[in-house]
């Protein structure tokens, strides 16, 4: 589709009076409100329903997705999104349920929340989860607020002022810490790509509030000294936080609770097959060890002694609510459906196959790409295009764009920051050996072309509806909205 014509904006098409009419004749607004309260004009475009259908269908056709192709975006767990989840969430009993519905007329919904809470606690070894936070970063924020409340209660609020974050951590970790007023101490990884335990021990002190980690880390490596780490942090009086972004590698194999983590979040839109929707909505439940249960954000779904389900708001030590209403409930339904579809054994197998798929690609690409950490990985791994860049000038970015030309989504690039020209690949368990082979062959061919005709790769993509975009212009002269012509 190269050079496909731009699709006009919905504001540029349409004519007044063309909109399909969905409501009965309205009433003059000034029948009910004083003129001073009313807006003067409402300059919105009017398109027929067919125009709207064609417009958004064409936009959809210009959007890469899991449904259209392989999406090995590291750290994002782009697995297949089963359609049973959608059907379950769309049932009127869930879809049309008002958040202020009386509890006894919403028992099915609260039971769904409760059962998901229990399942997550079991899979990750935590005492209790709150489904309140709306996304992973939101869960991190909630957990750090818990840490702050906990230390305040202990009388160490002023003293515990720093959060330790390894240099391989997701950017949300330090950003969340800053939103709670914590100072961030960055920790260098060791030669094996793990947290340097000796350096951690020097960083620890009476000012340490929390150490935030993910395991496996963003290099796809299991932090094998994890018990030593959690013990050291606890000995210093600090708390351990588990970033659940990489939980797809762990299920049935190891549990953050057993590793000594006190607080954690999960991204239901990664591990639990909720559609990413173009960047959300996600869901970021947080789980805690027993001594932090009272601090969880409200509400928490509970089962009373008489077997009735309710939302518990009466938690005086709670950090409070994190968002308007109780949870991203439609995602709760999807996640529970997914867990029940797979069962405990299935979840275990999911993690095993996610690791198998990642290693299968890793071993194959070793032939032609550097893999700086040459050992079995977990659900993802990192490669580096540094040697290629030195040799040919072709960068990780160019490889990413060349993959787009070949029908694949690009891996995550330039993250984690510790690996130069980083290419981070996470295939997930729902991809077949044939798909992985196709991807490996595409990468191999790109590498060969990069050596024989580097310009060809630097010019990629050429088969997409647009070529490389002038990002400098986008940032220097921000055009963030359509403007009506005067």
């Amino acid at each position: 589709m190269p050079n496909a014509a731009p699709i006009p904006l919905v504001f540029e098409t349409g004519k007044r009076g063309r909109a399909t009419v969905y409501f009965g004749d309205g009433h003059a607004l000034d029948e009910f409100l004083p003129k001073s309260a009313l807006r003067e004009s409402l300059p919105l475009p009017e398109n027929s329903e067919l125009d709207v259908v064609r417009h958004f269908t064409r936009l959809a056709q210009r959007t890469f997705s899991i449904d259209t192709g392989f999406y090995p975006l590291g750290s994002c767990t782009m697995k297949y999104n089963p359609r049973i989840n959608e059907a379950m969430a769309a049932q009127p009993g869930f879809r049309d349920l008002h958040p202020f519905a009386p509890t006894d007329l919403a028992q099915g919904a609260i039971a769904t929340m409760y059962e998901l809470e229990r399942a997550l606690s079991a899979v990750f070894g935590m005492a209790q989860f709150s489904l309140n936070p709306a996304a992973g970063a939101h869960g991190e924020l909630a957990a750090l607020l818990i840490a702050k409340a906990y230390f305040r209660k202990k009388g160490e609020g002023a003293q515990r002022s720093t959060v330790i974050v390894p240099d391989t951590a997701h950017g949300t970790n330090p950003a969340s810490a800053a939103m709670v007023g914590y100072k961030v101490v960055s920790l260098k990884s060791d030669a094996r790509g793990r947290v340097d335990v000796a350096e951690l021990k020097t960083a620890l002190g009476s000012d340490t509030a929390v150490c935030m980690m993910t395991n496996p880390n963003t290099l796809g490596l299991f932090e094998d000294h994890i018990l030593e780490i959690t013990e050291a942090v606890h000995a210093a009086g600090g708390l351990m936080y588990y970033d659940g972004a990489n939980a797809n590698a762990l299920m049935g194999n190891s549990r953050p609770g057993d590793m000594g983590f006190d607080l954690m979040h999960l991204n239901l839109h990664k591990t639990f097959s909720i559609p990413h929707g173009g960047g959300g909505a996600g869901a970021g439940p947080i789980g805690v060890a027993e001594r932090f249960v009272d601090f969880l954000p409200t509400p928490v779904a509970v089962r009373d002694r008489d077997g009735k389900f309710s939302l518990d708001f009466e938690r005086p030590e709670s950090i409070g609510p994190m968002r308007s209403f109780w949870s991203n409930f439609a995602h709760v339904v999807r996640a529970l459906t997914y867990i029940y579809a797979n069962g405990g054994e299935g979840l275990t197998k999911i993690s095993q196959l996610a690791v198998l798929n990642a290693n299968y690609i890793r071993v194959a690409v070793k032939e032609f790409l550097e893999t700086p950490y040459d050992e079995p990985c977990r659900h993802e791994f990192v490669a580096s295009a540094q040697a290629l860049k030195r040799e040919t000038g072709v960068r990780a970015l160019d490889i990413a764009k060349a993959l787009l030309d070949r029908g694949y989504h690009a891996p995550t690039i330039y993250f984690p920051l510790v690996v130069p020209e980083c290419i981070m690949i996470e295939p997930t368990e729902t991809e077949s050996k044939e798909t992985l082979d196709g991807f490996i062959n595409a990468l191999r061919e790109i590498m060969a072309t990069a050596k024989s005709d580097p310009q060809k790769i630097k010019d990629a993509p050429v088969n997409t509806v647009v070529g490389r975009i002038d990002e400098t212009r986008a940032a220097r002269q921000p055009d963030l909205r359509w403007q009506p012509s005067l």
């Binding site: 004083p34 269908t57 958040p99 607020l145 439609a330």
Partner: protein, 459 residues
């Protein structure tokens, strides 16, 4: 299990990676290895699973068997089926954040259209790609004001949705910000009589006002207050919990708001027992570097064609880390897409008609309910689609709601928990989905309940 691996595939792949078994490949140090099976029920075949989950849905009779007059930040509106038919296309549903712009032009354009819609509706210069919901939008908007002014206190109307204020306090505890409140005037709007005195020492980064406010009342400041904001360098923040009201009411920019935050669930997104919904933030251009979250911009590609791309990313957490404007990463793109398609389908006419019907139905509700002896409006200020009703002194809100439930009606929300002085009041909502017949039956039921109460008192 949704993995395509055959036994043969697994064997071949294990051989390729040189691992004897899946268990060996994924082995972790013994001390942290889970040695028991996961305590999760065994897998259910899909046909059985569908039945099981359907049973959970069926137990939520509030959604399916009751006439509801609930609103309070979550609204039932009619959404033309074309909206979901388009939004649920796999390309939209299963894409992620459009990092690779060349293969994400469709979604990027849709977000650019969303940003434009929110600008047109609020009257402000720019809008972001969405945040989690209305409450977090308020918190993020408040942080923008704090960063813009260097001040660390916020003044908010107590007629802002109580859940929004609670969330603001949650965030404020993290950043050690003070949150003070303005009281409610007798007509149901925010009491601004003390504003001048309170702003005098220039302590407040922002003043936040919600319109329509939690009581349904149109609640915007006048020219006098606008001057006070300007002369004290206080940033006015408009809070909009019912986005449909933007189709009718004076837009935030027109009354001087520099930042508008709110909830756009009403634009095509279902109730979903509280989420996911979709928060928005719009602002004047001087706040462009402080707005949190994704922004889509229009630029050109190397072939000279217009092209869309995520921009101003250096504000964001993945680059700026602890110095970012916010920690937000995932937003509510798909809910914003639903809203965009809804707005595109309705157009000006549809949106105005919907707003007009909300006004008509809430006024009919007010008229019919307050014709029942003992029921009266608590506040005189004009409303958009909900209002506060005082129940007769002979009974209580609890008894009224219980009696209504026997008649399969959810009669509104009790306010006592948030506003002790409104303990005899209910917040009732009517939208275009509320029929005349439902309103008349509601009023008739209230009449019956009053008569029963009187009879019981005599007996």
């Amino acid at each position: 299990m949704y993995s395509p691996h055959t036994e043969g595939d697994i064997k071949a792949m294990l051989a390729a990676v040189g691992a004897p078994s899946l268990e060996e490949l994924i082995r972790v140090p013994d001390a942290v290895a889970l040695k028991v099976p996961l305590d999760v029920p065994p897998a259910l075949p899909e046909a059985d699973l569908a039945r099981k989950i359907a049973e959970y849905a069926a137990r939520n009779t509030a959604a399916t068997e009751y006439t509801s007059f609930l609103g309070a930040g979550a609204y039932r509106h009619y959404c033309p089926p074309v909206v979901m038919a388009l939004a649920m296309r796999g390309e939209f549903l299963t894409a992620y954040t459009p990092y690779q712009a060349e293969v994400s032009q469709g979604y990027l354009q849709a977000i650019y259209e969303w940003q434009t819609y929110m600008c047109l509706l609020t009257g402000l210069d720019l809008a972001n790609a969405s945040v989690y919901d209305g409450a977090t939008a308020l918190a993020e908007g408040a942080i923008m004001a704090v960063n813009a002014t260097g001040r660390s206190a916020l003044l908010v109307s107590s007629a802002i949705h109580p859940n929004y204020r609670d969330v603001l306090r949650t965030y404020a505890r993290g950043l050690d910000l003070d949150v003070d409140e303005l009281p409610v005037a007798p007509d149901g709007t925010t009491d601004l009589s003390t504003l001048e005195a309170r702003l005098a020492d220039k302590r407040y980064a922002a003043v936040a006002l919600q319109s329509p406010n939690f009581f349904g009342c149109v609640d915007t400041p006048h020219a006098r207050e606008q001057e006070m904001f300007a002369s004290t360098g206080t940033i006015p923040i408009a809070v909009v919990a019912e986005a449909l009201s933007l189709a009718a009411l004076v837009p935030p920019a027109a009354w001087g708001a520099q930042i508008a935050v709110g909830e756009a669930q009403s634009f095509g997104n279902p109730l979903n027992f509280g989420g996911p919904y979709v928060g928005f933030i719009a602002c004047t251009k001087e706040h462009i570097r402080r707005i949190p979250g994704r922004l889509v911009g229009r630029s050109v590609d190397n072939r000279g064609n217009p092209a869309y791309v995520l921009t101003l990313q250096a504000r964001e957490q993945h680059i700026r880390r602890e110095k970012a404007t916010s920690n937000i990463c995932t937003n509510q793109a798909h809910c914003a897409l639903v809203a965009t398609i809804y707005l595109a389908a309705l157009g000006e006419t549809g949106l105005r008609r919907a707003a007009g019907l909300n006004l008509r139905q809430v006024n009919r509700l007010a008229e019919r309910v307050c014709a029942v002896p003992g029921f009266s409006r608590a506040f005189a200020a004009p409303v958009f689609n909900e209002l506060v009703v005082r129940v007769p002194s002979s009974t209580t809100t609890e008894r009224v709601l219980a009696a209504l439930r026997e008649r399969k009606i959810l009669g509104g929300l009790e306010l006592a928990g948030w506003y002790p002085n409104l303990s005899d009041c209910l917040l009732m909502t009517a939208t275009e989905t509320t029929t005349d017949g439902q309103i008349d039956a509601f009023a008739a039921a209230l009449g019956e309940i009053v008569r029963e109460t009187k009879a019981a008192a005599r007996a």
